[in-house]
Structures are given as structure tokens and as C-alpha cells.
Subunit: 340 residues, 4 copies
């Protein structure tokens, strides 16, 4: 069975699985004091620069919450898109865990703009309002779009000029780097991002995400927050080994490019059907489309995908590292037939 | 010195102050086990019905937070207006204290509608999204408008039909009852409201607010939440005595009617100035108006009031129980002159 | 009716009540921007030194929680006595609000010692254990005893040498200063205390406590924590005016000396009864005594007081600023008779 | 390299690793809607009875926190041993996440008794004290000892007779069942336990723990707490598959028996050395011993283990499923030599 449900329905990439198997030798110190974790942290440092520091957690929600907790107080406000995963898909985890307020901005394409953020920063009435402390963007966005390097830089400058930090939820950061055809450093360090949630699971890992602090000192309390946040892995070598597999070769980029290319291919195929309307620019590995309900139902029976906005008959189709042209051809072919 | 800054700049009403002085006799049991508190709770019960139960706290923020905490879980979502005090004026207290997520809806006049709320309730994706548990409205709203009894009833029905509760932030609930020319029971019990933050401080008290649960059982854990919430008054008789003074005669209604009438009178006076535009219906004790900045500055020097939306040159002028016609006449007169 | 139940059963001191009445004139800016608050803060500064800064809250629990929150993180541990108010009388407020862990040490007289604290500080296993950040002592203790200046200094040095802070819960700090016959600065600034909860309610106020930071910078975020902590008083002038009355003359010391002297007098009287055993040194305004249950019941009917440790038939009798010799004589007399 | 550091230094059992590899086929629904999770939940139900329900999380800390959160309120108190993992090894996670207070009881062998608990339950002073809601015991304890079935039943009865729940932290629950030579149902269901943290990682898994609710209804909100608690695994099949491997054969019992037997063998060997004093009954897979520091250091260089109580020169040596007789013989032999 294959699906377009989500990139976390796919299996573990075989190279990653081999790395897991190979890490399963003898005893290793627990809680991150093992050789694999040290190696993986060095690898991240070689990618993100000497000022960076990296720590591993289990879930994307945890990466976001613990990253933001490290750079805010309970009286802080976090500014993000109304579609942000931290706002609509984490069951209020950030509010509960860190105590912060989320200020969610309306957006059509998932990207928030300086024009929207500026008045919020200015309007603060001390001490009655939560104090804006973090701008959080998602790259690629929850609508499959991608911030340009220039857009990220402008948001980082806006943040820093006002004493805020810029956080990037990079659950699909590999897809963004592939889409922009750039490196992680270029996209995230050179633009001035402060802290990144680096996604592993959707990139072909079994489990494990990384929090990458890009400025010295920001991770000062992270290990205590992580432990208290129930995210300290005892056999951490198995997260670290996966990231080593992902990042020490072009595996991450190849996986991302395949997923992105397949979304492009899928969108092209779908757009040949006059009944289907693509609603977002296809810039990474997802396709958003308005599909007549009866047609959608038949297509879902062929290869499952989720509705996105039921009021608009809008659906989301996600490609993964393991999506193939053949699979899409078959899907489109059956969809066509099912439509008749 | 008088002002239109806020109804909490005004002093304590002399009848309330007398009640405080009279309560200062000998020893009384601490923490609410005193005679005054019992009497005041009975008085609230006589107003809100036998199914109601009332508890006292210090601040309006605490009343809102502890009321909502009693009817929600940390994974709950609270639906309110983007202007709601719980969203913009309580420094994230609700999120931090209860862990809930606030979903703030855009509104022009401070009132939220069933049409806005319905899709939110429907769209929930278990267990990824916070579970809507409470609709919270403010009466009178933060923009001085007033929900009709019918509007409240429709929101209560919508809440109950979907397993939610309806909370009313009644920091100025007396002004609303005066404006609607109805009783508290008619407005809040007969319409189906579940829990009310009953405002004291802005109605002429020195300090003290009441949380009024209108359905049996909802206050089951309130006393523990209040203690843990740092809101258990040791000499509670002094809050209770004030509420007895406010509610055992027409004091609350007279205070509210005076403040409302003065806002009406002030708005009429202001609207004679062609440069000034009243921006909200004057339904209670506040006036919202766009005023040219230079004029506004001169007026503020005569009798202070706050800007509301600096980008629009909009200001808020609040009347209180102690606002007088003479004071307004003088203010309008000086404003006129200062304008020339 | 009089009682030995608690010093918060007593009324407001008439001088304090007069100050409240006098503050009830015209409008004053809300939320602490009023003249009374500024004056009161200056008064505290004149007592505690130029490096100190003072903020007002409603309850003793809030003073403790917000003071400690200002000098700790959620992963911190707070070391205190097993009898500490923050541990046994605040319904878990500190844990919930700040997220910290409380490490409660056994003690016979309510005072904790460097010998007990040292191994806890040393034993920390990063990042598995909460990080000790605060030593919190109560002065006078919950058992009526008093730390000497030397004892406080040693604890402050221990704290500072290990990167911790020393917090003093001073719900009855006036009684301690009276007992030690010293000034506040001598007891708290010169010994090195970092932050103090300065009690008002038990000293004769209607409501209101002060958080006094004794080192620069420690209150950096206090106003935001206070607002988020639901403790920002809108008509703050009425708290400030009370503290001005208490501290601008010898009122606080006279009140404390009277209460302390009465406890001494009461203990002397009680100890004449061979059936009664005084269990703690009477150093401030409370008497702890083992009393045979039948006798205790009769005494409680004469003038009420609470059991302290029911398993031991131990009771606590608290004196207040308004306790009189005549009242005690009568109580002892009736107790004697009731015993026969 | 082998060690006696902790049972989470050991690798994944090969049978478990095979199960992981076999689960890596094609797409599976995310977030626990996959076939493996359903099968694993059924398997737990077949072991723990039809009234039970099981959910998977990543870490033992999370299992404890989310289990207890499901059966308590923020104003609750949790009663446990001073050695309890939730008290000394989870960095205040329970307090921060759930808001509860922990009441830690002194104990010599890690086991708490009804005699200690009863006065705490009785002494509650509403609403000033946190309300005892949960007794939490660890089986096997943090000192390697094991509660008998009778002891568990008595604690469960005590809990239920007073409206509390009994939680078992079963990070090493397999070792306990092996030690008592009984089944899980006999030990945990028949005795009346309410909720269990079922440990996977220390039993030979790569990652993953289970929360087993043993009474209907207790897991009502668990899935929302888990999501908000950052513990919802997207590729949950890989946790489920491991538990299927562990529990669908005697693997769990064989692993536990081997570890237990090796601890026995190790203790016998150590106790032949007159310088070494075994300090706890060896009832499961750990050995606690006082060892002269110089000797200990040499032994640690042979095969690493941790100090337990440095003030007493006490050390902890943990055996795991992969500990062998040969390894122990070699360790004892080298230790002996190093001692000379």
C-alpha cells in the first residue's frame, strides 16, 4: 500500500535502517553520552557552523516547543501563521508547556510578512500584553510554499531589530533546501535564523528530530528543559545514528528532491483534469487542490489522501521519499477512469 | 482630578467604603469562613437562583482564568473575540495558568457570532487540535457594545449543543444590565450562561470580583483552584462586605446608569465636532472616537483618556459611576476652545 | 469575639483604615502608576536601601510564588523546611505556577541548617535532577521561632557560594524584627538575603503584601510575572496607602511587639498548668502547646484556636496586634475553671 | 564493551530488532492508526484483561507523567518514596507538566508503607493543602527490591478506601514478575492497581514505553494529554512492533530472568570480598554495595558502574538481558586481582 496521506506514512529509508542496525553493538553510555551522539553533533556543527549546537528529541512538536521555550519566557508572545503547526497541530503543547501566548496571523500561502508583524511588535502595552519574543515560521510552510532566502533574512532582521528571535519549524527543511537549491547554512545561518527544528521523521527516519541552535548561548538551559520536557532519549545512539546516515551523504537531498519532483509531477497530472484546481504553488512535496467530492472519494480509494479544507473541497496530497512516477501514473490513470 | 482613562481610576463609592468600615469589627474567621462571606454568597444566590454558587477573588483576570479553568482541561481551546480581555490584556495568564489555547476571532464591534464559531467547532482533528471547550464573551464588550439577550441565548445553545460551555467576562456586567434594562437573572441565567466573572472594581469597589457558577456542580474544584491560583483572600469579609453594599440595594444599577448616561452625553457632545467621528455604537459607559491627533492631545490635557488604536487615531473615553454632567460640559467646552 | 486562631482573623488597624479612607479621593492612575504606590515604593527603598525595589501583590502565597519565580527556572529546585508555608499551605501553587520542585527538609523547630542543605546541593546529577536554585526560609518560622542574623548570613553565604539565591518568606517579618530588636536592613540586607516576601495582612493590613528585591536586576521580569500571575491590582493606591501607614511610623513595630509580648504572656500563663506542655520556644507571636484534648476543647470554646498536630494533641495559639492582657487573663482564668 | 552502568546501556535484543526491520514495509497510517499498534494494544488487553487499555509513549518519564496526569488534577498531591524516579530522576517533570505536588516519604529499601501514607491522607486541610490523589510505587523499586503481591494489594486498598489511585512505575516490571514468578495480571490487576507505566527500553527495546490503564474510563483524556505532552509518535508502528516482539513470546520473561539471575550471581561473587558490603536485598537485576573507593575505582575501570551514594561509598551495579556469567566471572576475577 502507498498513499499521499503524509510523508510520515512512509517507511524508514533502507540506508537509515542499516545505520540503526549497525549502531546496535554492545553497550553505549545512555542519555546522549555515547559516541554516535557526539559524532552526529559534530556533523551538525560542520554543516551549521562552529557557533551552532545541536540536541536530539523524539518528535517535531517537542523540537518546536523546547526550541521556543529556550528563547522565551512564560509571559512571551510567539508570532506565527494561522496555519502554523505549533498553532493548529500540536494540541496547545506550546502554551501548556511554556506558558506563552501564540499570536496567529492570517495568510493565504502560509507565509507571514513583516507588514503583518510590525504593528504587533509596536502595539505592546506593558505589562498587560504578552511580550513578543519569537517569530516562528515554517519552512517549507504548512501549505507547501517556500520562503526565499531574502524573505527569511528580512524576518530575521525585523526580529533582531526589535529584540526578538527567529525560529524556523523545519519539519520539512530538507525539502526546502532542495527546492531552493541551496545549502542549510546559506538558508538558515547566513540569513540570521536563531534556532531551527530540523525534521527527521518526514525525511525518511524512523523517529528523531534535532534542535539546532545557530547562535552561541541560546542552548544554555536546553538539556534541562529537554529532560523536564520528557524528551531525553536513554538509548540516544539510535537517533544519532539515523541523522548520521541522513546527513553524512546526499541522502537527505536525494530524498527531498525525489519527493519534490513527484509533487510537481503529480500536480501536472492533476491539472490536466479540468475539474481539479491546484490552489497553492507547488514548491515542495505537497499538492493542494480543489477536487469535486465524488471524484475525490474515488481517488482516495485508489491511493489515500486527506481533505485539507472540507468547506472548500480542498485536499492535500503529500509525496514522500518513496513516491514513484509509476505510482503516480497509476493513480492518475485510475483517477481518470474513475471519473468517467 | 477626574479622567476618562478607565473606570478603575475612580475612587471607591462612599456606600461601599462605609460597608468596609463597618466590617472592621473584632475577629472573623479567615479564608471565607466569616459571616460576611456567607451573607454575600446568599445574596448572589437570591439574585442568580438556587442552582448558582459564588466565590470571591481579587482581580478580573483571576475571575476569568479560574472560571475557565473550572470548566476546561489543559488540552481545551477557548473561543473568544480578538479584542477579548483574556486575549489582549491579561499577559497570557489563561494560557500559562490553565494550559489552554485561545482561538481569537476577528470582530468589528467586539461581538462574536455563531457563524464564526461553528466551523471551528466542526473542524477539530482529534487528537492533534486543542478541543474547543469554552466560548467566552465579554458583556459589555471591550468596545462598549452589548450582546442582546437573544444573542446570548443563541451562543449558549450553540455551546451546549456541541458540548461546550459559555463563559461571560462581566467586568462591566452592571453596565450591560443597565443598558438592556433587565435583571442579571434574565440576562445570564435564563439565556443559559454557565459561568460569569462578575466585576466589582469597575463598579465602584476598592477590590474584589466574583465568580458566579450558574449550573450545579461546575464549581466542584473551584476552591482548590482558587487557593492554588493565589487568590484566596484571608480577610475575605472585606470583599464580601463590598458586594453586599453593591447588590443589596440599587447601588450597582444607579452607578451603571450614571456611567452609561454620561457616555451617551459625552458622545453627543463630541459628535457635534465635525472633526470627531464616533466609531462604535455607544451602548454602555465608553465612547470610541477618531480624533485628530493635535485635538486629541489638547483634550487629553484637559481630562486624560487613552488612545485605543494609534494607527487609526482612535481613542477610548470611559465614564464611571462618578462622572458628572458638569465635568463633561467643562471638558467639551475646553476641548472646543482648545480646538480653535 | 476574639480568638487565637490566626493573626489574620483580626481586624484592620485603625491607623491603616484611616489611610485607606484618606486615599479614596478623586481619580488615580490604575495598575500602580499612582502617587501612593510611588511614595510607598520610595519608603521601602529608604528602609531596604537604594539597591532594593518593591512591588505589591494581594496574598502571601502570591508574594512567595512570584518572588521565587523571578529567581528560578521551571527546572529549578527550591530547598525549604517541611513546615514551610510554600510546601504545606499553598496547595501546590509554587509547583503549578513556576514548575519548580520543592525539596522539603525535616526540622524540629522550623529552621533549616547548612548541614542539611549542603549534601543536596552537591548531589545534583545533571540533567536528571532539578537544579537547586533557591533556599527559602520563613522568618518568623511556621513554628514561631526566629533565625538569628548570624544564621541568616550563613545560609545566604551558602546559597551564594553555590550559585543559589536566598528567599525569605516574611509573612510575619515585623514580628521577627521586633523579636530580634533589630531593623529590617540589618536583618535582611546586611545578611545578604536576595528577595523578601514582606507580610502586610498579618501585621494589621486589610490586604496586600510586598515583594522586596534586595539586589539590583532581580526584579527585571517581575511586573510581567505579576500581571500574568493575576496579581496586578488596578486600584493599587489602596495597598500602597496601607503600607505607608504601616511603615512610615513605628506602627509595624508596635503591632509586632504587642503580639509578641502577648504570646510570651500567654505562654507563661499556660505553663502554669501542669497538664500543658509548651513545645516550641516562644520567640514571636505564637504559642505551640500539647494540651489534653478535653481541656483543649473547653479552652477552644472560650477563645478559639486550631489544632496543630492532632496525633500529638498539639495546638497553636496565635496572638495578634489586637490581643490584650485582659483577654488573656480572662482566657486563662476561664480555662482554669473549665479544667476543674 | 560491557558495563554495569544501567540496563539502558545495553543494545536492542536481536528479536526486537528483527521485529523493527519487519515492520518497515510500505506505508502505514501515522499516529497509531496502523495495524501494528492495534495488534499490540490487543496483545496488552489479552494480558491485562478486557477492562484495560494501553497507549504508547517514548520515555519512562513520559509514561509516568502522563499516567499520573490522567488520574489527578493540578491541585493534587502524589505520594511516593524519596527514591522514586518521579521525584529524583525526572527533573521536576511531573510538577511542571501536571502542576501536582510530590510528597516524598523516607524509606530504607525503596518501599513505602501504609503506616507512612495514612497520616498524610488524614491530615489534609482543605483547601490549603494539595489533595492527595495518587500513591505511586516503583516495581521493582529504585533500590532493586520488590513489593509482594500482598503489599501491593494493601496499598491499592488503602488508596481506594480514601478516594486515591495507585500508580505503578514499572520501568522494570518484567524483572519484578520474573522475581515474583508470577504473571502481570496476578501482580497488577488482581491486586487492584489503577495504572501502570510498562517499561520497554530497559527490557531490551530500542525505545518505547506503554501506559496501561487497568480500569475502564481512566484513559478518557489520555490521547489528548499525550499529544499535548509531545509524546505522540508519528511512525508508531515501530514502537508497537517492538512490544509485540517482547510480549507475544517469553522474551520479556527470559530477558528479565537472565538479568535477575546475573545480579544474584554478581552479588554472590562480590560478597566473597570481605571489603564489600551488599546493602540491599538482591531481588531483581541490581546490586547495591558499599565498596572502598580505591577498590571501586579499579573495578569501574574494568567494567563501568555508577556511584549511588557518594557519602556512604555506596555503588549500584545493574545487570541487563545481555549480561553473561563469563563477563561477571572476568569482572570478579579482575576485581580481585586489582584489589591485591
Amino acid at each position: 500500500m502507498k498513499s499521499f496521506a503524509s510523508d510520515n506514512w512512509s517507511p524508514v529509508h533502507p540506508v537509515v535502517m542499516d545505520a540503526i542496525i549497525n549502531a546496535n553493538n554492545q553497550h553505549q553510555a545512555a542519555y546522549g553520552d555515547d559516541d554516535y551522539t557526539k559524532y552526529a553533533q559534530d556533523l551538525f556543527r560542520s554543516i551549521f557552523g562552529a557557533d551552532s549546537s545541536t540536541h536530539f528529541v523524539f518528535t517535531g512538536t517537542a523540537a518546536n516547543v523546547l526550541a521556543i521555550e529556550s528563547i522565551s519566557h512564560s509571559f512571551s508572545a510567539v508570532i506565527c501563521s494561522e496555519h502554523a503547526h505549533i498553532h493548529v497541530d500540536e494540541c496547545g503543547s506550546l502554551e501548556k508547556h511554556s506558558g506563552v501566548k501564540i499570536l496567529a496571523l492570517p495568510t493565504i500561502n502560509g507565509k507571514i510578512t513583516p507588514e503583518q508583524i510590525r504593528p504587533i511588535i509596536k502595539s505592546e502595552r506593558y505589562p498587560h500584553q504578552s511580550e513578543p519574543a519569537v517569530i516562528s515560521i515554517t519552512q517549507t510552510t504548512e501549505l507547501g510554499t517556500v520562503y526565499t532566502l531574502q524573505e527569511i533574512k528580512i524576518l530575521a532582521d525585523l526580529a533582531h531589530n526589535n529584540g526578538l528571535f527567529l525560529h524556523v519549524d523545519g519539519a520539512r527543511i530538507g525539502n526546502a533546501a532542495a527546492a531552493l537549491n541551496c545549502g542549510f547554512k546559506e538558508m538558515l545561518v547566513d540569513t540570521g535564523v536563531d534556532v531551527l527544528s530540523f525534521g527527521g521523521t518526514k525525511a525518511g527516519l524512523m523517529f528523531g528530530e534535532a534542535v539546532v541552535f545557530l547562535k552561541p548561548g541560546l542552548d544554555k538551559h536546553f538539556e534541562l528543559y529537554r529532560k523536564q520536557g520528557m524528551q531525553l532519549s536513554s538509548k540516544m545512539r539510535f537517533i544519532a545514528a539515523q541523522f548520521i546516515a541522513l546527513l553524512s551523504s546526499d541522502l537527505w537531498r536525494n530524498n527531498a528532491m525525489q519527493a519534490n519532483a513527484m509533487a510537481q509531477y503529480l500536480a501536472e497530472g492533476l491539472s490536466k483534469n479540468a475539474e481539479i484546481e491546484i490552489t497553492q504553488k507547488v514548491q515542495s512535496n505537497g499538492v493542494w487542490a480543489i477536487i469535486p467530492p465524488l471524484l475525490a472519494e474515488k481517488m482516495q480509494n485508489t491511493q489515500f489522501f486527506y481533505p485539507w479544507d472540507e468547506q472548500k473541497d480542498e485536499y492535500r496530497l503529500m509525496c514522500s521519499w518513496d513516491t514513484t512516477k509509476e505510482e503516480i501514473d497509476r493513480f492518475l490513470d485510475l483517477s481518470k477512469r474513475s471519473n468517467s
